[in-house]
């Protein structure tokens, strides 16, 4: 809707503006979609992190969430479906001073891209993965994702989902992530804080954000609109920092355990690489200088 119609004055000092590509507004997301809320939290985290934003890069896959990269005023990469993590891996290794954030959807990161996720976690690749989990493939019309809870109705499960779903935080911990947290879009303060925290944490970090898709998931399952989603999250969420991730599985209408579950220090990929090469090659080891020079 145009500003004129709404008659809302543009606030020239909106604090998120410097972090977004304002020349790309309006964005494509539906009203009351949770993705925008997560982006707001992300801009807050960028601001409070005090990082040099020229050295922060964002990589997305494909999906509604995959469009985040295109709106972030950072070096930003909208890759192919499921491959944000391996792209980010190459980017990080060639230019280690970058802080590389992967921002994508649950289908992108855990169906088509699931293999990349577990391997990047295993390697403890120094990238920060933010997953907007709307429990569905939203971009393509609300089909079943590996995260869709049992008995949910989706475009491809018209009689209800019967496949067991992934517990993403348990998966991330088991695969080796250094940091694992989950929030909902109701928990904007906590989410911003977690995002800021991972921007300063080394190693593979994972934040799952449970987020509403009112247009498809909520509507099809008679779960109301965006506001109803907030009420629902408020009602069923339970903050349990440090909870065993095995106890954090999600169901259609049951408890949502949120909090920071894992925060551990493991040497990351580049540290391990350097240590091994130095041990094996001694002085002959040449520190990687991957960037090519100009003519």
């Amino acid at each position: 809707m145009s500003e004129a119609l709404l008659d809302i004055p543009v606030n020239p000092t909106n604090p998120v503006e410097p972090f977004l590509r304002m020349d790309r507004m309006p964005h494509i997301w539906c009203p009351a979609c949770g993705i925008g809320t997560t982006v707001n939290c992300f801009t807050r985290a960028l601001e409070s992190s005090k990082l040099n934003l020229d050295k922060v890069a964002i990589v997305s896959g494909i999906g509604c969430t995959g469009r985040v990269a295109g709106y972030a005023n950072l070096d930003s990469f909208h890759t192919t479906h499921g491959r944000a993590i391996p792209f980010a891996t190459g980017l990080k290794l060639s230019n280690p001073e970058l802080q590389v954030v992967v921002y994508s959807g649950d289908g992108d990161l855990f169906a088509i891209g699931g293999n990349h996720f577990i391997h990047a976690a295993r390697r403890n690749m120094d990238i920060k993965v933010i997953c907007v989990n709307n429990l569905t493939y939203a971009m393509t019309g609300g089909q079943t994702a590996p995260t869709t809870p049992a008995s949910v109705i989706s475009a491809t499960s018209p009689y209800g989902v019967f496949e067991p779903s992934f517990n993403l935080v348990q998966l991330a911990e088991a695969a080796g992530a250094s940091y694992v947290a989950r929030w909902t879009t109701f928990h904007v303060k906590q989410l911003s804080r977690s995002m800021e925290e991972v921007l300063h944490k080394k190693g593979f970090c994972f934040i799952e954000v449970i987020s509403p898709c009112p247009t498809l998931y909520q509507r099809r399952n008679k779960m109301g609109d965006g506001l109803d989603a907030m009420k629902f999250y408020k009602e069923v969420s339970k903050v349990r920092n440090g909870a065993p991730t095995s106890e954090c599985a999600l169901t259609k209408s049951g408890e949502i355990v949120v909090g920071k579950f894992v925060d551990r220090d493991r040497p990351d990929y580049l540290e391990l690489l350097r240590a091994q090469m130095t041990e094996s090659l001694g002085d002959r080891y040449a520190d990687p200088e991957v960037s090519c020079s100009e003519g």
Binding site: S94, V290, C292
Partner: protein
């Protein structure tokens, strides 16, 4: 610009094609590779994994070829020259990212050591049956360059050419080896670094305010940037405008796809790489590439001994197809004979360019071995009649 001596193993070596190709990547300035093991190509990255820690760079073995083929592109946008290596089944998995490299104009090199297919096919035996896949394998319209070495020395030399062309035109360049060339061991001369010409990445001189990521320069190719330098650029596989922003409409699609197509015109028009012999008086021209060109050489020699005016046109660059040369020859020769280790792929291009002016004879082979020179000879003799 000349090669960085750190990566150049100057000297006379006895190497197979895969190892020579690896030395080519190092001489060309590649300091990043991501791969996934597959016969008969793995030796390229095995050597890279062994060599790179003392040169100063990174090899990472990824979880599959989808990952390897996009990790190299992340590395390129981080500032590296990068490549991956594979064979048939892995090449099929990489198709998605050949398209991504094409539309994002990411300079990078894909090495495919061809083996018999389809599917798992003949893991250890040669074929040349991915030639059409190299050009058309990813969906949509796009352009690539493909080079076909026929010796370990060329595996070294052409790998450097491949990197240079990928920087010049900002396209993915395919090194289309075959199992025979990859595993054949011969003398390889690696020259002094200061005699190896390197095409540097053309980084923009503009400020972030002036810069537009896909603004074509006079050669239709946009200037590069790398992440971390303050340009705050956006790269997408969606149809995009000059700013790099998604713009899904007919006009933007038309401008983008036409430019991606047209930017290789200067290569097509006069820069095809080939080897010719006896073309002046030729009545029959054998068009071949890769290992088949070496088998065809024998047939050619026998044909000339029998008094047949046979000539040679060896494609070193197979894509863009050396159209001008074939058209010109078609006007003055009787026939083309096209042996290849597939059921007839590049011969279709020869037929298209011959346009009925000269006869075109395909000499197919299902793969797993090379032609018997007598089969090619027979085709030459029949074509000359």
């Amino acid at each position: 610009m000349h090669a960085d001596p750190k990566g150049v193993l100057t000297g006379v070596h006895f190497l197979d094609g895969d190892h020579a190709c690896c030395e080519g990547t190092l001489a060309a300035g590649a300091r990043f590779s991501a791969g996934y093991p597959i016969t008969p190509s793995t030796e390229v990255v095995e050597r890279f994994a062994w060599r790179i820690p003392t040169v100063g760079g990174i090899f990472i073995q990824m979880e599959d070829e989808l990952a390897a083929s996009i990790a190299i592109q992340g590395a390129v946008w981080g500032g590296a020259k990068a490549f991956t290596v594979t064979s048939g089944p892995g090449f099929s998995l990489m198709m998605e990212h050949i398209g991504y490299a094409a539309i994002t104009e990411t300079p990078c090199v894909f090495v495919n050591v061809q083996r018999g297919g389809p599917s798992t096919g003949l893991p250890t035996l040669p074929a040349q049956a991915d030639m059409m896949q190299a050009k058309w394998g990813s969906h949509g319209d796009y352009s690539i360059i493909a080079l076909c070495p026929n010796s370990p020395q060329e595996c070294f030399d052409l790998t450097i050419t491949a990197f240079n062309l990928s920087e010049e035109f900002r396209v993915p360049v395919m090194m289309m080896l075959d199992e025979c060339v990859g595993h054949m061991t011969e003398k390889v001369v690696i020259p002094e670094a200061d005699t190896i010409a390197i095409t540097p990445r053309r980084f923009t001189k503009k400020t972030p305010e002036e810069f537009r990521l896909f603004e074509p320069q006079s050669d239709m190719v946009p200037d590069m940037v790398k992440a971390g330098d303050g340009y705050r650029f956006h790269v997408t596989g969606l149809t995009h405008d000059e700013r790099g922003y998604p713009s899904m409409n007919v006009e933007t699609q038309d401008v983008l796809v036409r430019r991606m197509h047209d930017k290789l015109k200067p290569f097509e028009n006069g820069r095809a790489i080939y080897e010719a012999e006896f073309l002046d008086d030729a009545e029959v021209v054998v068009v071949s590439y890769g290992i088949t060109s070496r088998v065809a050489q024998r047939a050619l020699q026998l044909a000339r001994e029998q008094g047949v005016k046979a000539g040679k046109f060896r494609m070193i660059s197979a894509w863009p197809f050396p159209e001008q040369h074939i058209r010109e020859l078609a006007g003055r020769v009787k026939a083309f004979v096209v042996p290849e280790l597939n059921m007839g792929q590049m011969v279709r291009e020869v037929e298209r360019c011959a346009a009925g002016k000269a006869k075109v004879v395909s000499v197919p082979h299902a793969g797993g071995s090379v032609h018997d020179p007598d089969v090619i000879l027979k085709a030459i003799l029949e074509a000359a009649r």
